[in-house]
Every structure is written in structure tokens, then in C-alpha cells.
């Protein structure tokens, strides 16, 4: 079975390239059984989203 180090690598790479079908299948099997990697796979897209929203934060604190 694929380990978590390899699984997180593939999850990360899936943001930069399209994974092959065998990669997707082995990754899916791992993620189904591993809550840590499942959470990681949900957090990675959130990091992208947060980074994109970063410059839009409303900084409402008084500056004086």
C-alpha cells in the first residue's frame, strides 16, 4: 500500500499536474483508509484559496 509520504506528494502534485489513472486509483484507495491524508487532501485546496484571497483581507483596525 502507498504510504502517507507518497500520498501527500501526489495530493500536492495534483495541484500542479493531472495525475495518471493508476496514480489516482492508488491515491484514492489510500485516502479512503487514512483520515490524516483525507484531511490533507481537503486542506491543500483550501491553502490555494486562502493564498488567493490573501490580498483581499479587510484590515479594519484603526491605525492611530
Amino acid at each position: 500500500m502507498m504510504n502517507c509520504l507518497e500520498a501527500t506528494k501526489l495530493i500536492s502534485e495534483s495541484q500542479e499536474r493531472r495525475l495518471s489513472v493508476p496514480e489516482k486509483v492508488t491515491l484514492k484507495m489510500h485516502v479512503m483508509m487514512c483520515s490524516g491524508c483525507k484531511n490533507f487532501s481537503l486542506q491543500v485546496p483550501f491553502l490555494s484559496k486562502a493564498m488567493r484571497a490573501y490580498a483581499q483581507w479587510e484590515d479594519d483596525e484603526p491605525k492611530n
Binding site: E16, C37, Q43, L47, R52, A55, Q56, D59
Partner: protein, 209 residues
Amino acid sequence: MKDTSAIEGLGLEVSDASILSDTAFLNDLRRQMVKFATLQLSNSHAAEDAVQEALIGALKNAKSFAGRAALKTWVFAILRNKIADVLRQKQRMVDASSLLREDEESEDFSELFDQKGFWQADEKPATWGNPQSALHQNQFWKVFEACLEGLPGNQARVFMMKEFVELDAAEICTAVGITTTNLNVMMHRSRLRLRECLENTWFQKGEQA
């Protein structure tokens, strides 16, 4: 008289745009922009130029902005485009070998994974619940910024090139002078670090509270 020192030298008529008289805001904005541009371009002169151009472009239309947040979003969008242009034009602006050496030093997964490559018990990513709501909280962005600053410089640079400047992987490899494998390694590490930092300093604390 309004104090417009932050934008002096830009040659703009700004007397009637109230947002532009907020020098503390403008100075702070400029500082954030310069910091970001310097990290991306690894060249303070090019960074100052990009920031200056972005500010001039944005402030010309400043009267039409509803508030500070809208102005900030707009100037960063312009700055991001300028940086993307510069990075696409100039290739290999950093010494690739130095970049990789620095990154190799930080190679150590043993804290996160055991010898077989499975999560260490206390490092396993937890559930974040509904993280979207964090995006509306001021305090979250302070934590996020601190976590970004905790990344090694080159990891932060490449991560932001991908996720903020929105260059594609091939463009980043060319601009920075690294291979796709190097890029994948750096993105993987920055994501592991960033998520760990956010979990420890935000999401777990929130759940406990």
C-alpha cells in the same frame, strides 16, 4: 493641508480623494507591496519599480474605490500582473544551485512521518471543520501571514508564485531555474509546513475554544 507624503513623487493630483490622505494606510500598503515584490523578484530595485508602477496605475482611479480594502485588492492585482510579466520575461534570475542547497538543508520528514512513511501519531492532519469561515476573520489573516513568514524564503517564494501570482508550473521552473521535480518537492514541503502551522496556531485552538 493634507499630508500626502506617501505618494509624493508619483505626480498625481490627489487633493480630493480622501483615501489618499490616509498616509498610515498608504505607507503600510506600500510596505506590504515592497515586501511581497522583493520576495518574488529577488531584486529590490525591480521590486521598487513594480510597486511604483502598480501604485501609479491604481491611484489614478482611486476616487472610484469604495474603501481601503477595495483599493488594496486592486493594487495587489496590478502588482501581481506586473510581477508575472517580469518573471516571464527574465529567466533564471536567481542562482538555482544556491536555491536548491538551501532547500536540501531543510529535508527532514522524520518529524512528520515514521520510518515507513506513515504519519506520526501526533502529526496526523486533523479535521478543520468549515475553514471557509476563517477567511472572513481578521485574526486568521495575521496567523496566515505569520505561517507564510515561517516558510523558508525560497519555499515561500515558489508557493506564492504558484498560488498568488498564479504562474503555471512550467513558467515557475523557467523563471527560477529549477526542474519540475524540484518544484514538486518545494510545493509539497511548503504545503506540509503551512497546513501544520495553520492547524497548530488556528484550527486546533479554535476547536478547543
